[in-house]
């Protein structure tokens, strides 16, 4: 979580993935989206930033080859994984257009293979990254690591749901504290454990086969097993 401005507007810290660690530096890669990131972009060399971290979990360490699926700025979250496991990532990298394919050279260099799509066709194939991914996963039974928009994650879930494939996704949600205190950043996940407790304590409106519980993305996440998520 990084503090973006000096005043109360923007107010809250913003969550960012640690993009890269080099020498004695922590590097972040971010896209200017709203006023928080805009303020961040005005930070000058030598300025001090207020930061807490690292927070939450990370991707499990891949044992062999793996698939890395990045949607846009989602690459910030996957980059370290790809770089640290050279020549083991099958990278699938989709973005709106050519300009939003950040760090493309490095990603290509460190990946075993790379497949690119853009919404406007300005680089790679035109279309969604999930299209070539689907084809690839039919023949390659590798674990999937991903970060991107919810619609993208949902599509990936639909691709893998009836397979044995594992998929670890780094999720996003509006955050306030980043340390599990405010309960602001939740995702609904299936829970078997809750079943027992709910009987006693009377948590309602949950049919037994499909018990769900809210987990905090900042604390129990941001990386979740896609199959644990209680998709609507």
């Amino acid at each position: 979580m990084i503090q973006a401005g000096d005043t109360y507007d923007p107010l809250l810290k913003r969550p960012f993935s640690i993009f890269r660690q080099e020498d004695n530096t922590l590097q972040f890669l971010y896209r200017i989206r709203g006023k928080g990131t805009l303020c961040l972009s005005n930070v000058k060399k030598g300025d001090t930033l207020d930061l807490i971290g690292p927070l939450g979990n990370g991707y499990p360490i891949p044992k062999g080859d793996f698939v890395a699926v990045a949607g846009g700025i989602g690459i910030a979250s996957l980059y370290a994984l790809i770089e640290q496991h050279k020549n083991r990532a099958h990278a699938f990298y989709g973005a709106r257009n050519k300009d939003e394919l950040l760090m493309l050279n490095e990603v290509s260099k460190f990946s075993k293979k790379i497949c690119i799509t853009t919404d406007d066709g300005s680089a790679g194939k035109q279309g969604l990254i999930t299209t070539p991914l689907k084809v690839f996963l039919r023949n390659n039974h590798l674990p999937v690591y991903t970060c991107g928009s919810m619609p993208m994650l949902k599509t990936i879930f639909n691709i893998i749901k009836d397979t044995e494939l594992k998929c670890y996704a780094s999720l996003e949600e509006n955050m306030a504290c980043g340390i599990g205190a405010c309960l602001g950043c939740v995702v609904k996940v299936r829970s078997e454990k809750l079943e027992v407790r709910s009987k006693k304590s009377g948590v309602r409106s949950q049919d037994k086969k499909n018990l769900t519980v809210y987990k905090r993305i900042c604390k129990e996440g941001p990386v979740f097993d896609l199959k644990d998520i209680a998709w609507e």
Binding site: Q3, Y8, D9, P10, L11, L12, K13, D50, I52, E173, N174, M175, A176, C177, G178, I179, G180, A181, C182, L183, G184, C185, V186, V187, K188, R197, S201, G202, V203, S205, T212, V213, Y214
Partner: protein, 319 residues
């Protein structure tokens, strides 16, 4: 602002170790800075950042007799100098709290105040009883900004009559110091404070969040899944200070002030206006060490302004 001016005002200048401790309804706090319910988890979450022994009191996330799922996401959204939340009172339930969270808190010598609520008067009473029997709960804070299931979901804390009833029943159920947390969404907060006082509250705390809403103009949908949420943070501070002022004039029981306190100067606004203690909420998210910095800043102010006791500035507003 030099020594000279301070002396001219007739206060003891240069006090090195001003007294910071205050009394709230029989609870002695080592300083007037508490945490605001729902913004400090169950204490544990912040223990990496804050020495919990340094706090005036720890107020934990609102608890109910039965655990609650809470609302779907998005539950929070930032607004200008503030934030909306619609957590939906998600909590682990009093039983689990006592079993799993209270032992950790018992390690510290800081009073633990438990914020609690219910859907019905009976749930409030049960919660108060259960919490009063637990070892390590030093005070109770009743959150009455919840809809009353029985009275057609009218909010307990906006109707003087139903508010009075629930406080009276809870009062009978506990001997712990009882703080009633007032809702700001009312026409006359001093009336509500008087009702709380008459119904047996030992103290009132205010303000809870102001009901508010943000709209996503692209999707033409409310941003929060719950449609509305509660506004907190610096944006509401001037409203909170005004309400503390009105309540301070209206009741004899101690007032705990909160709403947008980010710095010691903000806390001092509340104390000078009449709050005997303050609670720090949203600020914890912005700066996990906010509470400690506020305590230090208050102490520094007392030294600079030549006060030897925090109680000398409480309610010192000149009007």
């Amino acid at each position: 602002m030099g020594m000279k001016e301070t002396e001219a005002r007739g206060q003891k200048a240069g006090t090195k170790n001003p007294r910071l401790s205050v009394n709230i309804a029989g609870l002695k706090l080592k300083n007037p800075v508490m945490t605001a319910s729902g913004t400090f988890g169950y204490g544990e979450e912040y223990s990496e950042f804050v020495d919990l022994n340094k706090l005036g009191a720890i107020v934990v996330k609102g608890l109910s007799i039965t655990p609650r799922m809470g609302n779907p996401a998005p539950r929070i959204i930032e607004t200008p100098a503030g934030m909306l939340n619609a957590i939906g009172l998600q909590n682990i339930g009093i039983t689990t709290f006592i079993k799993e969270k209270l032992p950790f808190l018992r390690q510290f010598k800081t009073p633990v105040i438990v914020n609690f609520f219910g859907d019905t008067v009976n749930e409030y009473v049960q919660a108060a009883e259960k919490l009063s029997a637990a070892d390590g709960v030093h005070g109770l804070e009743m959150n009455i900004s919840c809809p009353n299931k029985q009275a057609g979901w009218r909010v307990f804390g906006t109707d003087p009559k139903i508010m009075s009833e629930v406080i009276r029943d809870v009062r009978k159920a506990t001997n712990l110091p009882l703080i009633v947390k007032l809702s700001p969404n009312v026409t006359d907060i001093s009336l509500m404070a008087r009702v709380a006082e008459e119904s047996g509250a030992d103290s009132v705390s205010l303000i809870n969040t102001i009901t508010a809403m943000s709209v996503d103009i692209k999707k033409r949908k409310p941003i929060l899944a719950n449609i509305t949420g509660g506004l907190s943070g610096p944006a509401i501070k001037p409203v909170a200070v005004r309400m503390v002022w009105e309540v301070y004039k209206a009741v004899k029981i101690p007032v705990i002030g909160m709403g947008g306190i980010m710095t010691a100067n903000d806390a001092l606004e509340f104390l000078i206006t009449g709050a005997r203690a303050v609670a720090v909420g949203t600020a914890n998210f912005v700066n996990p060490m906010a509470t400690l910095e506020i305590i230090q800043g208050i102490e520094r102010y007392l030294i600079e302004e030549g006060f030897s006791d925090i109680n000398d500035i409480i309610g010192s507003l000149k009007v």
